[in-house]
């Protein structure tokens, strides 16, 4: 249920991942370095202010020099404005780098997904992939905004403050930072504890999410099983676990927050004592003490925020890991020298094709197609019949090279589909599936699917030709947006749109999985008529569910359990008196069918 493996240690720093991330940042390195360079400038402006206050008090107030105080105030104003501008610039530039490079990463990820083989999508839930592209990339954004970058800058700041204090008076600096050592130890202790709790919290919220997803999705099962109370008890446990992890995290954070605050106060107290001694000896003046109060306060702020930033780093590393793992998924294999024939005639040949979806190394794969061979001449119309699982749909997928045969060859126009340019091959073969998938967008978008060169006139002509025009006009024309991917369209209307889509692409080969679900008689007639028009003059391969379709085919292929059992015209197959003949009789002679079925 959880995306994260339980044994994951929750690293906050992984050089390998950061190096890889850098390849996306590199294009914007000028901005990146700009942001990084602005930070010492910003710190200079910030660190100078307590120093100026010191000068003001020690030099001008003590000497009653009003004009000097005025001059100093001007310099101070410049420092304040400078700090504001440089700080703003630095954080904006950082976000600019983050947004630009992460947008590139996101697009790269999306583009990579388009190139992954179908087999990958068969085994990976869509929801997981969606969160890779959106949520995980967003977590990386947080890393820029509140994590990695600022940790580096904070370190720089600590060094800067220390240097400044030492430069002003090293003795007082030493006293001020006396407690730093013990505090680091304490922080390290909390960090170790917090690391575990943060990981627990993330795991537990992921578990709650997974649980809810199932409990809500399966609410009917829960209710029918009268299992509400136990399901609630299970949820309660997850919820309590999550709360408890957060309680610990709250305790650690509260303790750490208070500890840093206390150490800051105590350090200032120590410094006052030392400063008092030195002032009495006239080594320093009172302004120095005031400046030191401010330096010490500034020093402890980043330390206090460290644990929050650490948590951000932890989750970013996990996110980066997952994103790169997805980017490393091997893409669909491409032909070495992809062929793009100028004219596609539409000749198809299956040459001793064997295929299995899963090919385990150790045992014989579960063959879906076994030694299937057939040829289809250009312009021929073929019907495939067979039971569920007989391999009909697989045949289409192999033809379109969505999958590759383990043995044997699939040839289109005499060229092995593996040697074709995949896009060129698929453009020439239009596939219409039972379940018509529509995208959100306009009717026209769904017809063209963005294929360049399909004019509006073509879209409208296709619509008219396949009888889709009527309902498209009722929807508001070809620019009308389809609501929720066409949920307002009937099954028959969706079919017609799919026909228009196929027709507009003017394919040499049309592959079609005829719908089984019934539509109203009027639409049914439209669909049948449109189909006949669509098939005319093309090589067509139809997975047939209706006898009328079979009867009109030039030739029929009967698939059974992965074997090509019979092949021939309607008349030939009837004469052979085999599987097809019995089937045909059964469909048209119900009175005898009881016997026929029983005999099976």
């Amino acid at each position: 249920m959880s995306d994260e493996s339980p044994d994951e240690i929750g690293k906050a720093y992984d050089a390998r991942l950061l190096r890889r991330l850098w390849t996306y940042v590199r294009s914007y390195r000028a901005v990146f370095w700009g942001a990084l360079l602005l930070s010492p400038v910003n710190q200079a402006f910030s660190l100078i202010q307590p120093y100026l206050l010191m000068i003001g008090i020690d030099r001008y107030v003590a000497a009653r020099d009003l004009a000097g105080l005025g001059r100093l105030a001007t310099i101070f104003s410049i420092a304040v404005v400078g700090e504001f501008v440089s700080y703003y610039g630095q954080s904006y530039l950082t976000m600019l780098v983050a947004q630009r490079s992460l947008a590139d990463l996101r697009v790269a990820l999306f583009a990579h997904l388009q190139r992954l083989p179908m087999a990958f999508f068969d085994r990976t839930p869509v929801g997981k992939l969606v969160s890779r592209v959106t949520t995980d990339v967003d977590v990386l954004n947080e890393m820029f905004a509140a994590g990695a970058m600022t940790i580096v800058l904070d370190l720089l700041k600590l060094v800067g403050i220390t240097a400044f204090m030492c430069w002003i008076n090293w003795q007082m600096a030493l006293v001020s930072l006396l407690l730093l050592g013990p505090m680091m130890l304490a922080i390290d202790f909390f960090r170790r504890r917090a690391r575990v709790t943060y990981r627990q919290i993330r795991e537990r919220i992921a578990r709650i999410n997974g649980f809810l997803q199932e409990a809500i999705g399966g609410i009917a099962v829960v209710q029918l099983s009268a299992r509400e109370a136990r399901t609630f008890a299970e949820f309660d446990r997850l919820n309590a676990d999550h709360r408890d992890a957060n309680r610990w995290s709250n305790r650690y954070e509260a303790a750490l927050f208070s500890l840093v605050e206390a150490v800051s106060t105590v350090s200032i107290a120590f410094m006052l004592l030392r400063g008092g001694t030195l002032a009495a000896a006239d080594v320093v003046e009172v302004g120095t003490v005031i400046a030191f109060i401010q330096y010490i306060q500034q020093f402890f702020v980043p330390i206090r925020d460290f644990s929050a930033k650490y948590a951000v780093m932890q989750s970013s590393m996990t996110a980066a890991e997952r994103i790169f793992a997805l980017l490393d998924e091997p893409a669909e294999p491409e032909a070495v020298a992809p062929q793009v024939p100028a004219v596609v005639r539409g000749a198809i040949e299956f040459d001793h094709v064997w295929f299995a979806y899963k090919a385990p190394d150790d045992r014989e794969p579960e063959w879906v197609l076994r030694d299937v061979s057939f040829r289809i001449a250009p312009g021929e119309q073929i019907a495939i019949v067979g039971a569920t699982g007989s391999g009909k749909t697989t045949t289409i997928k192999l033809l379109d090279r969505l999958y590759e045969a383990q043995r044997g060859r699939v040839l289109v126009d005499g060229i092995d589909v593996r040697d074709w340019d995949a896009a060129a091959l698929r453009r020439r073969i239009a596939v219409v599936l039972q379940d018509v998938f529509l995208f959100s967008g306009s009717v026209a978008d769904n017809v063209t699917l963005g294929t360049p060169g399909i004019e509006r006139a073509t879209v409208e002509a296709a619509g008219r030709y396949v009888h889709a025009d009527g309902f498209v006009q009722r929807l508001g024309g070809y620019d009308a947006e389809l609501r929720e991917r066409g949920s307002n369209l009937s099954t028959g209307q969706r079919q017609l749109l799919a026909f228009a889509r196929a027709l507009a692409h003017d394919p040499a080969v049309l592959v079609m999985d005829e719908a089984t679900s019934s539509v109203d008689p009027e639409t049914e007639w439209l669909v049948q008529d449109a189909l006949a028009k669509l098939l005319a003059g093309r090589t067509a391969l139809v997975i047939a569910h209706r006898l009328s379709t079979i009867e009109h085919a030039d030739r029929i292929l009967v698939l059974h359990k992965g074997h090509l059992r019979e092949e021939g015209t309607h008349a030939e197959l009837l004469a052979r008196d085999g599987v097809y003949a019995r089937l045909y009789r059964m469909q048209y002679a119900p009175e005898q069918s009881g016997v026929a079925v029983g005999a099976g």
Partner: protein, 580 residues
């Protein structure tokens, strides 16, 4: 909001204690700059370390006390917030469990999850950090202003002159910030549905070579999202520096004006230190105002969304005077039933004045085209939905007078769409059992024809099925679902096209094995395979929500109008399977 008060009241002791500690911690913090003042004045006066010792010791003591109080206050308040989060999430989940299926048809799972997770979190933010700051800020201001004014009212006004400007900026930006944040969130949601859609239709994308176009439109969308994010970033980047400027300008005023007033002899150097200190302490609560504003807005909006769910009364619940039927024979009767889905009350009825009697122990098959109302009819028996008019009766009692849990234990439904939980097969099969009932599970699994499949699985019954059973075939999932119902041994068995993904011969085999089970129970069978329904005592043909024909297989074939037609239109696939 009143719901919120009841939760707050539940933890009032801890909130109260937390607030007391918080005020104590803040009071202690406020005494620190005052002590600096004393120390610096001593130093300026040239007093040696002896004079400083007491101040320093006091500072250390305060630091320790403050740390204790601070830890206690944050732990108490934040943890009480966590407790309310826990209660709220539990209560909401328990409430959702009681809402009927009709409710879920109108809601997206993602939306409900986001309320249970994100909205509850937003309310917790309001109650934890929100309350803490809500109390802390006035305390800081009250102390700070009082002390600073007691030192020098003029300097106080001057040093705080920048505050109204900053507050105004914070107020302005917080509205814009909300708006821009919303845009970014919308952008992210758009991106996510885009990816979701693309991946769901990846087969179409590939088949039409539309990858480049998809990439282009995604890039455009990503660019728009990027612009929205940058707009937000421009504003967010403004807030950190703004906070710094509050401190910087304060220090500047203190140095320049304060310095002059020291020259005038109206102030001491120590007073200046105190001023710088108090300004530093006030800077954070001031900046936190904007943040608090958004926490409050978000928390309130979230609570409203939660209330919207809480106020939905469960439409299907056990009536107060409900009682079980003992002994239960298993007669089913639908009397003049009309039904529409609650979400589509204005459409045509799904079932239109349907009357049907199934005597105990008989098997009735329901056939008809997609959308004829078969599934709706069987869903009415266990009250997944309630009828619009008419009655569903068991042994002559209206199902609405029966306890829900009893009813659902008495009526076992194997749905069309198998739903499995990502647990072991044994847990899925025993889902409705009170204990783990290993024996019953094993028998049910055998009866559902899963024996051979289990032998092939690494851990047999203890094999964990992947997310929603992704690792199982459609037929296997259906059989696990069947086993789940068989394991709980209901008096009435409803099979809603429950074996459609199982091949015909396996279905035959399963039904043969179930013959005894079916004979001893009242069975409602929705199926599309004629071989499956043939042996039923009676076959009911539904069309457009009405019963159009009724009778045995032979009678219907001989005299029926629709049934023979349905029979002829049998999908070729299934018939083909009958051939070796």
């Amino acid at each position: 909001m009143s719901r919120l008060w009841t939760y707050l009241a539940r933890y009032r002791v801890r909130f109260g204690a937390g607030v007391v500690c918080l005020v104590a911690a803040t009071s202690l913090a406020m005494s620190v700059p005052w002590l600096w003042r004393r120390a610096v004045n001593d130093i300026a006066a040239g007093a040696g370390p002896q004079a400083l010792w007491r101040t320093v010791a006091l500072l250390v003591a305060i630091a320790v006390a403050q740390a204790i109080m601070r830890t206690a206050s944050r732990t108490l308040i934040f943890n009480a917030g966590r407790d309310i989060e826990y209660d709220l999430r539990n209560d909401l989940f328990a409430h959702l469990e009681r809402l009927p299926l009709g409710f879920y048809q109108t809601r997206k799972t993602g939306d409900l999850m986001s309320r249970l997770v994100n909205d509850v979190t937003a309310v917790r933010m309001l109650l934890g950090p929100g309350i803490l700051n809500f109390i802390n800020t006035p305390v800081y201001y009250a102390y700070g202003l009082a002390i600073m004014c007691s030192i020098d009212p003029v300097l106080t006004v001057a040093a705080l002159a920048v505050y109204p400007v900053v507050l105004y900026a914070v107020k302005r930006t917080s509205a814009a910030l909300m708006e821009r944040t919303l845009r970014v969130q919308e952008g992210l949601a758009d991106l996510s549905s885009r990816v979701q859609e693309n991946l769901s239709g990846i087969h179409v994308v590939k088949a039409y070579g539309a990858e480049a176009h998809q990439r282009r439109t995604f890039t455009e969308m990503s660019d728009r999202f990027q612009e929205a994010s940058l707009r937000l970033a421009r504003m967010r980047s403004f807030i950190g520096p703004l906070m710094n400027i509050v401190g910087g300008v304060g220090a500047l005023v203190v140095m320049w004006l304060g310095g002059r007033r020291v020259l005038d002899g109206r102030l001491s150097v120590g007073d200046l230190v105190a001023f710088v200190g108090y300004l530093h302490l006030l800077a954070w609560p001031t900046m936190a105002l904007g943040w608090m504003l958004s926490v409050f807005q978000r928390g309130r909006a979230a609570m409203q969304r939660l209330n919207e769910l809480f106020t939905i009364e469960p439409a299907i619940a056990t009536a107060p005077d409900a009682s079980p039927i003992t002994p239960f024979r298993g007669d089913i009767e639908l009397r003049d039933v009309t039904f529409r889905y609650p979400a589509r009350r204005d459409g045509p009825p799904i079932l239109d004045r349907v009357s049907l009697r199934i005597p105990a122990g008989k098997t009735v098959a329901i056939v008809g085209r997609t959308g004829a109302g078969k599934t709706s009819l069987v869903q009415l028996v266990p009250r997944l939905f309630d009828v619009e008019s008419g009655q569903v009766l068991l042994d002559g009692r209206d199902v609405r007078t029966l306890p829900l849990a009893w009813l659902r234990a008495a009526v076992g439904v194997v749905p069309q769409d198998p739903f499995l939980f990502s647990r072991t097969i044994a847990e899925n099969v025993g889902f409705a059992l009170a204990d783990d009932g290993r024996d019953r599970v094993a028998r049910a699994v055998e009866a559902a024809g899963l024996g051979r499949d289990l032998a092939d699985m690494p851990a047999g019954l203890d094999t964990v099925v992947g997310e929603r059973g992704i690792t199982l075939s459609g037929g296997q999932k259906q059989r696990v679902t069947l086993a789940r119902v068989l394991a709980s041994d209901p008096r009435v068995l409803v099979l809603d096209d429950a074996l459609s993904s199982v091949d015909a011969s396996t279905e035959r085999e399963i039904l043969d094995r179930l013959r005894d089970v079916i004979r001893s129970r009242t069975t409602l069978l929705v199926a599309h395979r004629i071989t499956t329904v043939k042996e039923a005592d009676e076959i009911v043909v539904l069309e457009h929500g009405r019963i159009v024909e009724q009778g045995t297989h032979e009678a219907l074939l001989a005299r029926g109008r629709v049934y023979p037609d349905l029979f002829r239109q049998q999908v070729l696939d299934d018939e083909l399977e009958a051939f070796g």
